[in-house]
């Protein structure tokens, strides 16, 4: 398994590397740290020399990568790459295709004043176009041990089953508990009945999604279903308890092109309140992965 990490030589890049180490450790994945540098257009700068600047930029990028590789502990295999492209987001997506990466890991911007996550322009672009799951590290993320729990944000919309499959396989591959989370706001009706309905709906989904055999039993024993209610999505997220070593897996909006990410408005609001990393899964991603895993049992997060 390979994870591509979008690295920049600042706090955001460090957050991304920490999360990548944490994700890799539970799965034995290898990391590809990427520094994306812009392509210099001959149509841009008037009297400016171009060739030499490219060399300096490239040297600097290699130096940054060496610093980044030094952050990765010895038990996680990692390589550094410099890639050039029209935009950072495009460069990272191209790298994912080149390395057949199973996940892309990036940091959120650090200048959000009150929010834990502020999406930068690069993350924004990736969260609306990437074709592999994108993991976003919150600002100041410094945990590097393996994950301790997977949460899956479950809606009632089409695509939820594929998402749940992804989360179940992720939990069973990493041998950690799964928690299925339904977030309700007052708009959904505040009565206990609604919550109960959501709980049983989620419970049914989980039972249906669990694979047969030992692995399924194993995960089922540890799967938990919770419903969080609040006046807003943000409040519902705040009311849940989050472990330090937890990540939240959520799906793409219905607006997403098939097999691509499109971060919906609910996901966006969850992101703003979330204290733990979030992994956004492209729509129909699991379908592609199931076929993939038939030929190669060890690859991907697909059920094994």
């Amino acid at each position: 398994m390979r994870y591509v990490v979008g690295y920049s030589a600042n706090a955001r890049g460090h957050d991304a590397v920490n999360l990548a180490v944490s994700l890799a450790r539970g799965r034995g994945a290898a990391l590809d740290l990427m520094v994306a540098i812009p392509e210099v257009s001959p149509f841009s700068a008037a009297h400016a020399p171009k060739a030499g600047f490219e060399t300096l930029l490239h040297e600097q990028a290699r130096a940054w990568l060496d610093e980044a590789l030094a952050l990765v502990p010895a038990d996680v295999p990692a390589e550094g790459h410099v890639r050039r492209g029209g935009s950072d987001a495009q460069t990272l997506m191209d790298a994912c295709a080149e390395f057949q990466a199973d996940m892309l890991i990036i940091g959120a911007t650090s200048n959000g004043l009150f929010k834990r996550f502020t999406i930068g322009s690069v993350a924004g672009a990736l969260l609306h176009a990437a074709t592999v799951p994108v993991a976003l590290a919150p600002h100041g993320y410094h945990r590097r041990e393996a994950l301790t729990r997977i949460s899956c944000g479950l809606g009632t919309r089409p695509g939820a089953d594929e998402l749940l499959d992804y989360a179940v396989s992720m939990a069973s591959n990493r041998d950690v508990p799964l928690r299925v989370v339904s977030l309700l706001t007052l708009d959904d009706g505040g009565s206990p009945d609604v919550a109960e309905a959501a709980r049983s709906h989620a419970g049914n989904r989980v039972s249906a999604a669990l694979p047969g055999g030992d692995a399924g039993v194993h995960v089922a024993a540890k799967a938990d279903v919770v419903v969080a209610q609040g006046r807003s999505i943000e409040e519902a997220v705040d009311r849940l308890d989050w472990e330090d070593g937890e990540v939240l897996v959520i799906g793409s909006s219905r607006l997403a092109r098939s097999r691509a990410i499109f971060l919906g408005s609910t996901a966006n609001r969850i992101l703003r309140a979330l204290p733990v990393p979030m992994i956004v899964v492209p729509s129909d991603y699991e379908l592609k992965h199931q076929t993939h895993s038939m030929s190669n049992e060890t690859s991907g997060e697909a059920p094994s």
Partner: protein, 507 residues
């Protein structure tokens, strides 16, 4: 670190591939290269800034000087191309002069380049501000809005905002795209053509301000009355071709590196000369060189000639001229920022400046400290000139011409000295590495010293002076002296570079 963290073999190979040259090979055709060349010269901005000051020096011999001014530029550009092929480097003049003449002259060459680009930045911003207010006046048919640019505090404030904006865009690494560049260039050429046609038709209809018949004498450079005027005119016309050398240094990015750069340079210079000649001739024919009213010799008109002439010549369509100059100077302002920033970065990298100049923004991958330093310097230069000069635009352009002669002269001679061992190895090497740059460099340095000497006269340029010495001299020499002082300070702080331990001399 353990062996697991070895950088992969694949990344080692792509490292080599990229560092050799960072541009996508073969994306620019002949037309694209010409567009790049014309946009670097920014003819609409250049003409409005340089036409007036040149007329004040050489009068009706403007066309002759515009033609003659191209010769040293061409000769120096040959040398520039040879150096660029041998040592492609972000420091250009700084690196080349250091390799040829050692650290001290190299440092001053780099300083001259930085100073010239900083001066042109402040002038670009000022011209953009003038035409910004002029356009508002034309848009709302309210001449009072145009007068706002003469309000000193407001003018300075607006100019600083323009500089800050351009700096921010450049820092963020945003680039003008190919499409925008094509449109800007086409629009500039179209509007300048329109201006020339409109001016000539006024002359034909007898409605010109001071209809003057074109005479062959205008093309005779030897008819210029003194060598002082000639030198001043040539150093100004170096400025009007500044940027043209870019077409010659394009190689890998062109579709046919053998032929495209040479053809593009030729076509660019033809386009530029034709447009300069038509506009120069039409301006002289329409307005004459008189020093009253709309005359091109009127000192009030010389800071920015089109601001005055576009209205009477083009009528209600004068707003197109404002738009053309505003867009071309704003685009140049942003792209020109890249040049001093990269040279400063390179000097920081080679330890000729404090290390922080070598910083690259981790987020935007652009020179961070150097870009901001360039913006602060341009802003400071503008504030100083604006508050001490009666005609800041005019004096900055004259000082700029001088500064370009200074660093181009050094660069050209660096080429001669660097390649001295190969100079007589063949006809090609003799002409391009020795004769052309030698002639060009000597001509430019002569122009530089002559202009510097003449500019001590308090009546020089716009006639501003400080303590009985011409302001242009103070500005030009002040900037060079400041460079010498900073160089000595740097030699104390970081002696490695000045001991020749960083950039070695010779081939």
């Amino acid at each position: 670190m353990t062996t697991e963290h070895a950088t992969s073999a694949a990344s080692q190979t792509d490292h080599k591939g990229i560092s050799a040259k960072g541009l996508k090979a073969g994306t620019v055709g002949l037309i694209g290269a010409v567009v790049i060349g014309v946009s670097c010269i920014a003819p609409a901005y250049t003409l409005t800034a340089a036409l007036g000051p040149t007329v004040s020096e050489v009068g009706v011999h403007l066309p002759a000087i515009f033609l003659v001014g191209f010769i040293p530029m061409l000769l120096v550009a040959f040398g520039y191309r040879e150096l660029n092929n041998a040592m492609p480097d972000a420091g250009t003049s700084f690196t080349w002069a250091s390799r040829a003449f050692g650290p001290w002259i190299g440092w001053m060459g780099g300083w001259g380049l930085i100073a010239a680009t900083i001066i042109v930045l402040s002038n670009l911003a000022a011209v953009a501000v003038d035409f910004f207010y002029l356009m508002l006046a034309q848009l709302f048919s309210n001449p009072e809005l145009g007068e706002l640019s003469k309000n000193l505090p407001l003018n300075i404030a607006t100019t600083l905002v323009f500089i800050a904006l351009a700096c921010w865009i450049s820092y963020r690494g945003m680039e003008t795209t190919k499409g925008v560049q094509y449109v800007l260039v086409a629009f500039q050429l179209l509007v300048l053509g329109w201006f020339a046609v409109a001016a000539f038709s006024h002359v034909a209809n007898g409605s010109a301000f001071d209809a003057t018949a074109i005479s062959p004498d205008w093309f005779n450079p030897f008819a210029v009355d003194s060598f002082s005027s000639f030198a001043a005119g040539v150093s100004l016309s170096i400025f009007i071709y500044w940027g043209w050398d870019v077409t010659l240094t394009m190689n890998e990015e062109t579709r046919n590196p053998e032929k495209t750069p040479g053809r593009a340079a030729t076509v660019t210079v033809l386009v530029i000369v034709i447009i300069y000649m038509t506009v120069a001739l039409s301006t002289l024919a329409f307005a004459g060189t008189g020093d009253t009213g709309l005359g091109a010799g009127n000192p009030d008109n010389q800071g920015s000639i089109f601001a005055v002439l576009a209205g009477p010549v083009m009528g209600p369509f004068a707003i197109l001229m404002s738009l053309a100059i505003l867009s071309s100077s704003a685009a140049s302002l942003q792209s020109t920022f890249v040049s001093p920033a990269r040279t400063l970065l390179s000097m920081g990298h080679y330890k000729a400046l404090p290390a922080k100049f070598g910083r690259i923004s981790p987020t935007y991958k652009s020179p961070s400290y150097a870009t901001i330093a360039a913006a602060i310097a341009a802003a400071a230069f503008y504030v100083i000139t604006r508050t001490t000069s009666e005609n800041a635009l005019w004096d900055t352009i004259t000082a700029l011409g001088m500064m370009i002669c200074f660093y181009y002269g050094i660069t050209a001679l660096a080429c001669v000295w660097f390649f001295r061992a190969q100079a007589f190895s063949g006809a090609h090497a003799f002409f391009f590495k020795f004769l052309a740059p030698l002639l060009g460099g000597v001509i430019l340095l002569v122009m530089f010293f002559k202009t510097a000497y003449d500019s001590m006269d308090p009546a020089y340029g716009s006639g501003s002076s400080v303590a009985g010495v011409g302001l242009v001299f103070i500005l030009g020499m002040g900037v060079i002296l400041l460079g010498v002082v900073l160089m000595l300070v740097m030699a104390k702080l970081r002696p490695e570079f000045f001991k020749g331990q960083v950039l070695a001399r010779g081939i």
